[in-house]
Symmetry: C2
Subunit: 522 residues, 2 copies
């Protein structure tokens, strides 16, 4: 390629910037990145890329496309600059970058040449790669990945009536929170801004241990408490440290979709265990094959809301001890029990160190906080701290420190009390709205605690369809049947979250929902 | 058990609180939780537990210990209150909680009785549970868990000279950051405080896409950018969506310990690929068996620092396209290239959509931020957004929004420029210190970019021992040999991070380190 043709190639394509961002000087170029960033937000991206950068990119493309063949000599930076009517620095910058990245090579005295970047030899005989595992062939997801995305339970919308499992984040005392947060920011303490200790911020672990001992009869010291980003990560680390690919886990049926998805993603086979009024009801067939894990929500079954009976609790504990099974107790929202105090944890009854107790601040504070905790037997706490640091490299100690202060100053306890009263009102308003529309002929379950209730529907109703229609009407609800492992035999109903809905909107929102439901009852 | 004996049992054990926290009223009890929290921080935990709570706990323990047998009748709340010299409410509260939790049952007219909480029948014949997989038998970790904790690369300390891979977090413009953060807090926007969209905050995805296009020649739109909590989570989701348990991955040898640990934890077998001056050097034996993943750091090999040559890059891309291999490009710190501009990404050369490009803000901003990103082919972006939401339930949109503003206002670009200059100084100071002590006889590699350099040691040196001795002397360094898959044949050396060490401390800190090293050279 002659100089003329190279300069033509470039002249045709270079996009001249507004004069202020004229030809660039190598070192100053970085400066223009930010100009680029800003001006391009007003749509003028191309114009904002400095000329030196454009020359670099265009020559690079030409080399990759073999338009500029290996071994070809490039014009001197001076000649090219003249041709392009730009400063020599502009061209020099482009050449230097291309040299640094190996597209060009300069032979002293001889000039600048296109480097030979042909790939190394490829082997002739190569093992057949097993076919892509997604049958559809449309995507290249693995079987595991395809299953995960196909069965995903997570919803499109995360806010609005009646989004289940979401607290009223607008009630967070964010002025107080902000003050505590700023206190730590002003200090800009290195320990708060770098990677966190695997177990989490010590001050927060102490606050949590104290809170759990008093409010949940959890039997623990701060050294057994590990900070995670929530239930999902807590389950992930438990399985990775205590389980093997191919192990089985008992999960309540119905249960939280997230639990099943995390287990699946780790190669743990979920065995559905039906629940009755006393919680998990194991069949003899189940009991004869001890799993590695038992995932349960004894204080407030998710999503149906019953409390596991004492005899079932004792039985699970005995069974776990005898067969070395790990019980994963998910106590996700039982702060909010309207009939009285939260119930004691299963962990608190465990004398054999078989229970891994987990909770989250998502429901009490706000979901976006992403702080949860895991209480493990003393003998495992060190291994868990190491595993968490190694696998997740958690940080955000500044948030953990803020939360610790928030608890130590008593704001946490009072926020819970305040929310408990508010949510009780909203629960009542929702129940009234339901009765107004459907009288007593609709069963409401799970209304003693938590952030949602379940509105039972006749088995012939398609609760998935109802939810789609509701969403179209601007109402977020979740179909109960989707929480079961198999659609067949799944109970039909709707999960209605009331916690995040302002009192004065509940009735109106439910009117809309009722209008969607009624045709299905006819 | 007679009334007398029950009241004696209780009287003996009840711990009377300071008068201010007298006998409790059920509803108000929660209030005293916070009192408990606070006063107990001054060590008086027991005293701080309200009497009603203590009575509840003591009776509960007695029932669990069968001291109070099933079917036994309890004294009336009035009688017991008199015996204990406490208010009746106090006893009523305890009874109610025990009734709610199923420890007691009240037979109308008859009174309150200890419930029968004997466990359900257990099955006789139960399958033998496979023995615990940890050979040592000391812990109950799974084989996977035992391996993970045994080989953990994460260090005890996360800060101080010469901690590798950590930026100077004290230079973060935290006033600006705090201002932007507070702007969002004041609004207390629900969308920022609840669960985040799977792909992350749209505004941040746009900023990142723009930045990567300009600074790294990454070929992407915002829709291909997904926000994660960092490299670890990015690898985790890639493997879970695109890989199967038992797949193999090529990893550079040496490489970042976190990459190998995350792969192991997911059942992916790592195949070590030696690196030379051009980066990964595949043997024919490797090429004949295509892996599912190739993990590489082409812009700045970790930890040795070389740049992958163009011919190797093209070869990897051709190979990946031919054999449907996924290339995981980890571009963790190449913002900081002191000789010039950052190098173009491998992703930018990929025309076949085989590269998954990942980066993090840990090195540019601060590690505790835990915000990273993943750029995937357009065809996969939706699946990844779903997978991330389903498996991690990420949130912290308020932090993502703050970062987006930080970038949009140009603070990000200028922070990089400022740090690049500062780190270049520190690199030079460290190199001078090394030369002062060891002249030219020590090889220094990886000093062209990033946050650390590698000080080569004679093969007969025990770099692990040197690091232990250094830590004892207050200096954090990492042994190069630990970054290799197998100790045998591993090169000996020390990773020295200079970025987080104040200029005026570098020489003194290295003096200490040199004093530790010298005896090993004799």
């Amino acid at each position: 390629m002659k100089l003329a043709s190279l300069s033509d190639y470039l002249l045709l394509r270079i996009n001249r910037p507004p004069s202020k961002a004229g030809p660039g000087k190598g070192r100053a170029a970085a400066g223009r990145e930010s100009t680029a960033t800003k001006s391009s937000r007003t749509g003028k991206t191309a114009a904002a890329v400095p000329v030196n950068r454009q020359i670099y990119q265009l020559i690079r493309e030409a080399i990759l496309a073999h338009t500029l063949p290996a071994g070809m000599q490039l014009p001197s930076s001076r000649d090219l600059a003249t041709e392009l009517g730009t400063s020599r620095n502009t061209v020099t910058y482009a050449y230097e970058q291309l040299l640094a990245e190996g597209y060009l090579e300069s032979r002293t005295g001889a000039g600048t040449f296109v480097a030979d970047t042909a790939p190394d030899q490829m082997p002739d005989a190569v093992e057949r790669k097993e076919p892509l595992t997604d049958p559809s062939g449309k995507s290249e997801l693995s079987a595991r990945g395809a299953l995960l995305t196909r069965q995903a339970g997570v919803g499109e919308r995360q806010w609005g009536a009646f989004m289940p499992g979401v607290p009223d984040v607008t009630c967070v005392p964010y002025k107080i929170w902000g003050r505590l947060q700023n206190k730590h920011w002003r200090r800009s303490n290195s320990d708060l801004l770098t990677y966190g200790p695997g177990a989490g911020y010590a001050g927060l672990r102490e606050q949590i241990a104290e809170y759990l001992r008093v409010a949940r009869s959890v039997n623990c010291t701060a050294s057994q408490v590990l900070i995670t980003t929530g239930i999902h990560q807590s389950i992930d680390i438990v399985v990775k440290l205590l389980g093997e690919h191919g192990d089985t886990a008992w999960v309540e049926d119905p249960c939280y979709w997230g639990t099943r998805s995390v287990l699946n993603s780790l190669g743990i086979q979920s065995v559905p265990i039906a629940v009755d009024q006393e919680g998990m009801r194991m069949r003899l067939a189940n009991l004869r094959r001890p799993p590695r894990f038992i995932c349960t929500t004894p204080s407030h079954q998710y999503p149906l809301g019953m409390v596991m009976s004492l005899s079932r609790r004792r039985m699970l504990l005995e069974y776990a001890a005898t067969h070395k099974v790990w019980i994963i107790e998910d106590d996700y929202d039982s702060e909010f029990r309207y009939g009285g105090r939260p119930l004691a944890s299963l962990q608190g009854m465990d004398t054999q160190d078989r229970v891994l107790y987990m909770g989250t601040f998502s429901k009490i504070m706000f979901p976006g906080l992403r702080i949860g905790f895991l209480v493990v037997p003393e003998s495992l706490s060190r291994a868990f701290a190491t595993g968490i640091a190694e696998l997740y490299r958690n940080g955000q100690v500044f948030l953990q420190a803020t939360l610790a202060d928030f608890m130590a100053e008593g704001h946490f306890a009072s926020h819970i009390r305040k929310m408990r009263v508010l949510y009780a009102e909203r629960l009542q308003l929702l129940q009234q709205a339901i009765n107004r529309h459907f009288g007593e002929k609709m069963t409401i379950t799970g209304g003693e605690a938590g952030l949602h209730l379940v509105l039972g529907l006749p088995q012939e109703c398609d609760d998935v369809l109802i939810c789609e229609q509701a969403l179209a009407a601007g109402i977020v609800v979740r179909p109960l049947s989707r929480y079961y492992m198999h659609a067949r035999g799944a109970r039909r109903g709707l999960l209605l979250g009331y916690a995040s809905v302002p009192n004065d909107e509940i009735a109106r929102a439910f009117d809309k929902l009722a209008a969607v439901i009624k045709p299905h009852l006819a």
